[in-house]
């Protein structure tokens, strides 16, 4: 005789045992403000503008990132470098660099488009703000700090070292 489903008491007891057992397992909750979890290596968070080791900015103000951006979140205004006031090893640098994080969809196309790997999507994910003006990330907020061996920009350099419009070297001396 087929047992009616409702009378399958052993299944109910098995279920109750499973839930009872799970009460003694370690909770999987991460207590967020106190505990944080590291993102995965390829996680795409907020952008950062990178520098070479000597302190020069990688960004050459080409605005390819702005062109690649599907949501038009990036605004770049370039200006010419001189040997007295040098920001980047190339011909030009980004005088204004702004990312509107209200528009950004964190697709990472800007990082893919960048010829000098200047803009990178970092692991920063705590992006809450209380004022809309805080969502505009200017160059000062995006730029990485200068490393220990580098110098601040603008730098005064000898003429004749940086002659290419697009820098070639991985890490210029």
């Amino acid at each position: 005789m087929k047992i009616p489903d409702l009378l399958r008491v052993n299944e109910i007891i098995r279920g109750l045992w499973i839930t009872f057992r799970s009460m003694f397992e370690k909770p999987v909750t991460i207590q967020y403000p106190e505990q944080t979890r590291d993102p995965k290596p390829r996680f795409k968070g907020r952008h950062a503008l990178k520098r070479y080791d000597n302190g020069l900015e990688k960004c050459i103000g080409c605005a390819l990132c702005a062109a690649a951006c599907p949501s038009d979140a990036i605004f770049v205004e370039a200006a010419d470098n001189t040997d007295l006031k040098r920001y980047s090893p190339g011909e030009r640098y980004a005088a204004t660099y702004e990312i509107n994080l209200m528009r950004c969809i964190y697709c990472g196309f800007c990082a893919d488009a960048c010829p000098t790997e200047a803009i990178v999507l970092e692991h920063i994910y705590e992006l809450a703000y209380t004022d809309r003006s805080e969502a505009f990330f200017t160059k000062e907020k995006l730029l990485d700090p200068v490393s220990d061996i580098g110098l601040k920009t603008p730098q005064k350099v000898e003429p004749g070292i940086f002659i290419r419009s697009i820098p070639q070297m991985k890490d210029p001396v």
Binding site: L6, F20, P27, T29
Partner: protein, 334 residues
């Protein structure tokens, strides 16, 4: 009847109502913590030490919520429904004995509000009134989901009340009394009625789960199908009252189950130390509350037609057989 007697009753009533309200608040906390542990989460632990102030935070939030009344709702019934739901769950506590009696300030104080000789009937009657609140809430909201929820509640509670009533008959027959105190005393003499009436206890427990709309019988408030069921249109304190009714009923049925089947306030040394009675009853209530929460954390909701066929085709015959066997055994064994 002197003034001190009246005063004693008033104080006992206030203590019981306060117990109900505080119990409601901390049952929600207990439920959230226990469910969280079942799902390997932590649960509310932010408000106060270990989250103990969470019920207070919830209450403040609900008080400041906007009280909405739908335009086409029947206003008087709409306001009456939550009250009608809460009141029975509070007055049901009147007959539940917490112990025999203690001496306080030179007065002998009995640890129950009323020892009426039809205590069990009183329980049945009061427990059934609560369904009116649900029906009126669903009807007066003038909205389809509350109406469907209240229709389900009516059908469900009426179906399961039969088995519930028949489950009461076992302890009544054995104790040969309808007074809850005599039922407890009979259990002290013989054994807990869960031993003598195992089937009766199971039927009772399933029937009260359906009666108080708890999972897996929470059909009237099936969120996935009915939004919120009969209290969809309620907000603020009126919504809180429905919740209060549900949780106080949960505590009340745990107390009734403990009294009828688990020996009530009886336990070791309770004869010499009568103040142990409330403690024993409280421990039994907490264990039963945990079982109710545990079942909610385990079993999925029944399908509606299965709920009805389970109620009528399995529960009712089983309850009838239980009553019949109990009666036969009592007649055969003097």
């Amino acid at each position: 009847m002197d003034m001190t007697m009246v005063l004693e009753w008033v104080i006992k009533s206030i203590v019981l109502i306060l117990f109900g309200i505080v119990g409601f608040a901390y049952t929600t906390y207990f439920e959230r913590r226990a469910l969280a542990r079942i799902q390997t989460r932590i649960g509310p632990n932010r408000a106060g030490p270990a989250g103990l102030l969470q019920p207070v935070a919830d209450a403040i939030k609900l008080i400041f919520n906007e009280e909405l009344i739908p335009t086409k709702a029947d206003k008087y019934l709409f306001l009456l429904a939550p009250v009608l739901t809460v009141l029975p769950s509070l007055i049901i506590w009147a007959v539940i004995p917490w112990g025999t009696s203690i001496t306080l300030f030179g007065r002998e104080i009995s640890l129950y509000l009323a020892d009426i000789n039809v205590g069990v009937l009183y329980l049945m009657a009061v427990a059934s009134i609560a369904v009116y609140g649900i029906v009126i809430a669903g009807w007066s909201s003038n909205s389809k989901y509350p109406l469907l929820g209240s229709l389900r509640a009516t059908a469900q509670i009426i179906s399961y009340e039969l088995s519930l009533g028949l489950a009461f008959v076992g302890p009544i027959l054995i104790a040969n009394s309808m007074s809850l105190i005599q039922i407890v005393e009979k259990q002290q003499e013989t054994a807990w009625f869960i031993v003598l009436q195992p089937l009766g206890f199971v039927i009772f427990f399933l029937a009260v789960l359906a009666e108080i709309n708890r999972a897996p019988f929470d059909m009237p408030e099936a969120e996935q199908e009915l939004v919120g069921g009969y209290h969809t249109e309620y907000s603020g304190m009126k919504f809180a009252l429905f919740f209060m009714a549900e949780y106080i009923k949960m505590i009340a049925v745990s107390a009734i189950a403990a009294t009828l089947f688990l020996g009530g306030y009886s336990g070791p040394w309770v004869e010499s130390l009568p103040w142990l009675g409330p403690i024993y009853l409280l421990i039994k209530i907490i264990i039963l509350l945990f079982v109710i929460i545990w079942i909610r954390g385990t079993l999925p909701r029944f399908r509606y037609d299965r709920l009805m066929s389970f109620g009528w085709k399995i529960m009712l015959p089983a309850a009838l057989i239980n009553v019949f066997l109990t009666a036969v055994v009592i007649i055969l064994l003097p």
